[in-house]
């Protein structure tokens, strides 16, 4: 017990003084942690066992919310499906696109900083205007993308394949791919990280590979990929966590309804609507906790799988 206490406040005048100064400096964070993070987390867990609508008194239901979610609530399963579909589509495609772009830019392309600025620009543009812009571009009748598709491969296009642009956000099958397309516009963000990582790979390794007769593809697979694999892992995990929390476009584009036919009812949108539109706060808290476990499981799984694939450079001196 005293060992624990010593760990928190060390013995010895100098060490103790420094520890107390540490606590002084991080005290705002500690307070915020207790009141805005840990407290709410615990409260949320407790709340998930109640029925609470903020206007009336809470009503204890034990595991009632959870059983309702798993057995009766079809939208719950649908929204999990929607978010999973979005994540499994957007994360790999996004990483491939950003990484590919970074690799291209790394080929001694001239005016690199100009291109970098151009590609990063969409990431600077906010959530609401972006959602509005893309809902206009992907408008089925008047949107410019469907017009271009018609000109290129439509019935009267350059290559008359008779393909017509889909209904994008208005078609159940195309909603999620539309969101993924929109998210691809922001590939400049991860691209910058990859570019920096690529530039950190020692050229000596490439020279050695070339001497051994490796062509460009082999160099990429055996030198580049292993050397930047920690960074890819980082963007993968943050990408998965982030993609599960997509809210603003989902809310704006579906008008807060998650349509058509719940095909854009992202899980987080469903939590928001349950808590703040239907005032089922206990129910929504249960959903939030399920999300927490899902993300935790996905993160641990990724880290476990990564151990076999990610290469960490040995520290200097072996």
């Amino acid at each position: 017990m005293s060992a624990l206490w010593t760990w928190i406040i060390p013995r010895g005048k100098v060490a103790r003084r420094e520890a107390l100064w540490l606590y002084f400096f991080i005290s705002p964070w500690l307070l915020g942690l207790i009141f805005f993070t840990v407290g709410p987390i615990i409260a949320s867990l407790v709340l998930s066992t109640f029925r609470y609508s903020i206007r009336a008194a809470p009503e204890f239901v034990g595991l009632g919310n959870y059983t309702r979610l798993f057995s009766v609530d079809k939208i719950f399963w649908k929204s999990l499906q929607v978010s999973a579909y979005y994540t499994f589509l957007s994360v790999p495609v996004g990483i491939a696109a950003s990484l590919g772009l970074a690799v291209l830019l790394n080929q001694k392309v001239p005016a690199l900083s100009v291109f970098r600025t151009i590609y990063y620009l969409p990431s600077v543009i906010s959530g609401v205007p972006v959602a509005l812009l893309w809902s206009w571009i992907l408008n089925p009748r008047f949107g410019v993308l469907n017009y271009i598709i018609g000109v290129l491969v439509g019935p009267r296009g350059l290559i008359p394949l008779g393909i017509q642009g889909p209904l994008w956000f208005f078609d159940q099958k195309w909603v999620i791919p539309s969101f993924v397309l929109m998210s691809l516009w922001g590939l400049g963000g991860p691209m910058i990280i990859y570019l920096a990582a690529l530039q950190g790979v020692p050229t000596a390794l490439y020279d050695a590979a070339t001497i051994d007769g490796a062509n460009a593809l082999q160099r990429f697979r055996n030198v580049t990929l292993p050397m930047i694999s920690p960074v890819i892992l980082f963007t993968f995990i943050t990408g998965v966590i982030g993609s599960f929390q997509v809210f603003t476009p989902a809310y704006i584009i579906s008008g807060g309804r998650g349509g058509p036919n719940y095909a854009s009812m992202f899980y987080v949108l469903y939590i928001f609507l349950s808590a703040f539109r239907r005032y089922r706060m206990g129910y929504a808290s249960a959903m939030a906790w399920i999300l927490f476990w899902i993300i935790l499981a996905l993160t641990l799984l990724s880290l476990r799988a990564a151990r076999r694939v990610v290469y960490y450079e040995a520290p200097e001196g072996g």
């Binding site: 420094e18 606590y23 964070w29 709410p40 903020i54 205007p129 893309w134 809310y251 008008g255 927490f292």
Partner: protein, 306 residues
């Protein structure tokens, strides 16, 4: 006859050595590298046009008339740019109010994060205690926490118990208690500053607060600048927070005000929407152009060394 054979022989040697040289060129490393560079440059250039196209389209749409927007085939450059769209769009909804609110909100939150995080990060960077690394891991862990587990109780706390509903208080006050991302960035930055200065100040009798205030802070101006810009822009663009806590129209920030334009039926004033969107987006773009270097540096630090 011998003349012909000799000429044929010379011709064959020339042709063979031509193919020899071509083959050698095509498989030479420098040639391949330059081909790679050229192809990459072409792809990247075409890609940048594709990336910029939506922005150009946004501008183009904003200058059309209400019905010109729907013309098929679309007018790439509107024949009579309706510059007044900008005035109309921004006065039909009280955008001057929205802009004022957003500047107040983003600015206050930025100041809060700046003060608190520069303070907190110093503790994590320079002061030692056995528990410190565990606490820092907790900081990182909070970055990965899905916000949904905390927003519901936070809402109950702020609106029901503290009665801060329909105000910016729930959005600004937490900024004064630190933000994990900013704490992380500043801590990494502080760790690059040489300890010798801290130590010589300590020898001169300075306490850690003095060291922070007089030595570390003045040296951190570039990092603090970068962090302020990022914090300002993040709050400028934030939608869900204001959606939760701001109810009255006159208190709306730009993100909410812009979303109010939106209607899930035909007859949406796209030309106005695009004009208003452009105005909402413009400050961030301008700030970005002037401060790119810091931006990119900040992201690189999180991604590559994180």
């Amino acid at each position: 006859m011998a003349e012909l054979t000799k000429r044929a022989a010379i011709w064959r040697v020339t042709v063979d050595s031509f193919w020899e040289r071509t083959r050698r060129l095509l498989s030479s490393h420098s040639f391949r590298q330059r081909m790679l560079t050229t192809i990459s440059t072409i792809i990247v250039s075409v890609g940048s046009l594709v990336i910029l196209f939506p922005v150009a389209w946004m501008v183009s749409t904003s200058l059309k008339t209400k019905f010109g927007v729907y013309k098929m085939p679309p007018q790439w450059i509107p024949p009579q740019p309706q510059w007044h769209n900008y005035v109309d769009a921004l006065t039909f909804n009280p955008f001057h109010v929205f802009i004022r609110n957003t500047i107040f909100f983003a600015g206050s939150a930025m100041i809060g994060e700046l003060i608190s995080c520069s303070f907190i990060a110093y503790g994590f960077a320079r002061l030692r205690a056995p528990i410190r690394d565990l606490l820092f891991v907790i900081v990182l862990a909070t970055m990965m926490l899905p916000s949904q587990v905390t927003i519901i109780p936070q809402y109950i706390l702020f609106v029901k118990y503290l009665r801060w509903g329909d105000s910016y208080k729930p959005l600004i006050v937490p900024a004064f208690f630190g933000s994990a991302y900013v704490i992380f960035l500043l801590r990494q930055f502080y760790m690059t500053l040489p300890r010798e200065m801290d130590e010589s100040a300590k020898i001169d009798g300075c306490n850690p607060f003095g060291i922070w205030w007089r030595i570390i802070l003045p040296l951190s101006k570039p990092a603090l600048g970068a962090v302020s810009i990022m914090a300002f822009m993040w709050h400028w663009n934030w939608f869900m927070g204001p959606l939760l806590y701001i109810d009255s129209n006159e208190k709306f920030p730009l993100s909410l005000g812009l979303s109010m334009f939106r209607a899930p039926f035909a007859g949406t004033p796209f030309h106005w929407l695009m004009a208003a969107s452009l105005v909402t987006v413009l400050p961030c773009v301008i700030i970005f152009f002037f401060t790119q270097r810091y931006f990119i540096q900040g992201i690189v630090i999180t991604g590559v060394k994180g």
